[in-house]
């Protein structure tokens, strides 16, 4: 199924690294483990099909890692794992070119799906995805776009309500409308679409 492609896992937490090895291994992927971004960059496996990396690490963080990879011409899709409340970091990673991001704790199904998609990404036409995302963004009303901007910025509903002079309830309604119009199944997908569509927070 993987055609010899390797999933490279980068995480400073040993338990997370080891457990990902077990899960991805059980799902039939070949896995290589790295304790840090520097460790990975010093010896990038030739068959690296996709990278799964934590965004917060001692030394080089996930965003810098993506930038460095791109500078070196490595186009392997990068999946970024973020903690709760790390939306701005996730957005930065998406802008730097991350294929997707996962908020910890995630379901095992979510990571397997994401890795599978990422391994097949090379065939996906990125410009098509961007065109589609821009088309969906264009359907948003002014208020909805404002709410989306702030959501992608990592603001909580309450903060958005205060900023825009709305009630939190109204913000929730706008948020639901945005999710529908953008056809986003999850918050992570919404952020990805917003970044693809070129929304500048």
């Amino acid at each position: 199924m993987t055609d010899g492609a390797i999933v490279c896992v980068i995480d400073d937490d040993e338990a997370v690294r080891d457990s990902l090895d077990f899960l991805l291994g059980a799902a039939g992927f070949d896995v290589r483990l790295h304790a840090s971004a520097e460790d990975f960059l010093s010896d990038i496996p030739a068959e690296c099909g996709c990278v799964v990396t934590d965004v917060r690490m001692p030394g080089m963080d996930g965003v810098t890692l993506i930038q460095t990879l791109r500078q070196r011409g490595c186009t392997a899709p990068v999946i970024v794992m973020t903690g709760h409340g790390d939306v701005p970091l996730a957005v930065a990673a998406m802008k730097a070119g991350a294929a997707d991001f996962l908020q910890k704790p995630y379901s095992d199904q979510a990571i397997l799906d994401t890795v599978r998609t990422a391994l097949g990404t090379e065939t996906v036409n990125l410009s098509d995805a961007q065109k589609e995302a821009r088309a969906r963004l264009a359907q948003l009303s002014g208020r909805e776009a404002q709410v989306l901007e702030r959501l992608v910025n990592g603001d909580a509903n309450k903060v958005i309500a205060q900023d825009l002079g709305l009630s939190p309830r109204t913000v929730e309604v706008y948020r639901a409308n945005v999710m529908t119009k953008m056809q986003a199944g999850s918050f992570a997908e919404l952020v990805r679409l917003a970044v693809y569509g070129g929304l500048e927070p």
Binding site: P58, G85, P105
Partner: protein, 475 residues
């Protein structure tokens, strides 16, 4: 009145002198005495003039008698001086009496306005005076107490013993309470008791021996102190929530690691089981590892619970090293990705302090979190955090947290420990003031100084446990 008397005396003298002739000057001199004694200089001079005129009129019939006239003048002068002196004396006495009365009224008004009650007893213990504040304090009217033994205001066993205390003092002269003052318990008329701060003064007057007791009702003060302590510990407790709140995203991240790992292990195990590999050693090992991660998550939660829990407010002997280790484990959560180089230099003799463990940890967590925030602003290459303990002078233990951050701005250095002074964007500015409250409540001191290596060092001291000092000298 003095003039009336003088006039009457003059009339009497005039009548007498008409009948006696020679002795007339004596009578008129007496009039001067009456005038001066009753009214001072005014009536005396008037009486002398009137006497002189009367003598002059009389001498027209009898012939001018220079000897008698000179005698009259001399006697008038003498009686005038004597009478005036007596008059002055009486006036002075009257004045003094007025002064004494005014003083007494003044004293009474003071005694009524001071918060202390005053009770005077004699050497037999009988109440001689019972102030109105004392009436309010004990619920007795003064009339019910004065003349009775003061022990009626004391609950047992003092009630029975007080007379023997007085007896002992009379015999030995050894003062146990006089001039010292202490907290005693009083008994009200309704039988209830009242905490009292008692100060006793002694007075000897004309062979009599009195004791004056000043009594202050401590009920309100005790309640206030208790309430104040409750409020302070409440504040300190609440500020632990604030400290944790500021760490919440770091704590969430720290909890997410084991939770992610558990999810991964279980997900993988299910995939393997679906393929009939459920009994493989690898599957079983993964489940064991998942269980281990639940313990890891549990420990983090336990650490948070311990920190927030209300217990351990009581002070007891605590190992400084243990306090530092536990506090830094909690405070350093989430600090790893920042690449901070943490070092500990703990005194090997393992001193113990008499302290509330959780509150001292709170101080440490606060200082360490502050240090971490400061270090975030310095170059990733030099992010050093040093936590050290050492025995210091005067039987204290000094704990310090040193960072190599940007250091403190001059303008906050002086106000560092004041409430609502913050250098942080989202800071309430209560952290360090709470730290000071805690440290000072433990009899220690806290201060900040410049780190030689750049950055800031926060130091605080705590008194070492006496037991620890003994153990050290024994070894």
């Amino acid at each position: 009145m003095a003039y009336g008397l003088t006039a009457a005396a003059f009339a009497g003298a005039l009548i007498l002198s008409l009948h006696t002739g020679d002795a007339a000057y004596l009578f008129f001199a007496l009039v001067v005495l009456v005038g001066s004694a009753t009214g001072g200089a005014g009536p005396a001079v008037l009486a002398a003039l009137a006497g002189a005129s009367a003598l002059a009129a009389l001498s027209r019939d009898t012939g001018w008698d220079m000897v008698h006239f000179a005698g009259f003048l001399a006697l008038s002068l003498l009686s005038g001086v004597c009478g005036a002196a007596k008059y002055r004396n009486r006036r002075t006495m009257e004045g003094a009496l007025r002064d004494v009365r005014a003083h007494e009224a003044h004293l009474q008004s003071i005694l009524k306005s001071v918060p202390e009650a005053m009770i005077v007893i004699d050497e037999k213990g009988l109440v001689r005076s019972f102030s109105s504040t004392a009436e309010r304090m004990f619920g007795y009217e003064a009339g019910e107490v004065v003349g009775k033994n003061v022990s009626m205001l004391m609950p047992p066993p003092e009630h029975e013993r007080h007379n023997s205390y007085l007896e002992r003092y009379r015999r030995t002269g050894e003062a146990h309470i006089i001039g010292v003052g202490r907290v005693v318990t009083g008994r009200r008329k309704d039988g209830s008791t009242v905490p009292i701060e008692l100060a006793v003064g002694e007075m000897r007057s004309n062979g009599y021996h009195f004791f004056t007791g000043f009594l202050r009702d401590l009920t309100e003060r005790q309640e206030t102190e208790t309430r104040l302590q409750e409020l302070q510990s409440e504040l300190v407790h609440m500020s632990r929530f604030t400290a944790l709140g500021e760490m919440s995203s770091a704590l969430a991240h720290e909890l997410n690691q084991p939770l992610s790992a558990i999810g991964n292990y279980l997900g993988g195990a299910r995939l393997r089981m679906e393929r009939g590999q459920g009994n493989d050693p690898a599957t079983i090992e993964a489940l064991g590892k998942a269980a281990e991660q639940t313990r890891r998550a549990g420990e983090i939660i336990q650490r948070i619970r311990d920190f927030i829990a209300r217990r351990e407010i009581e002070k007891r002997s605590e190992s400084v090293s243990k306090l530092v280790n536990e506090a830094s484990t909690l405070a350093l959560i989430g600090a790893k990705p920042l690449g901070i180089h943490v070092r500990q230099d703990l005194a090997p003799e393992a001193p113990t302090v008499f302290a509330s463990g959780v509150q001292i940890q709170q101080v440490l967590v606060n200082l360490i979190r502050n240090a971490i925030e400061a270090l975030e602003e310095s170059d990733p290459g030099r992010r050093d955090l040093m936590i050290s303990t050492r025995r210091a002078e005067h039987d204290t233990v000094e704990i310090s947290v040193a960072d190599t951050g940007p250091g403190l701005a001059e303008n906050v250095q002086d106000r560092l420990f004041q409430p609502f002074v913050s250098t942080k964007d989202a800071g309430m500015g209560v952290g360090l003031s709470i730290c000071r409250t805690i440290v000072e409540a433990h009899g220690g001191a806290i201060w900040a100084e410049r780190n030689e290596a750049g950055g800031t060092i926060f130091r605080f001291t705590l008194p070492a446990t006496a037991a620890a000092a003994k153990a050290e000298t024994a070894t």
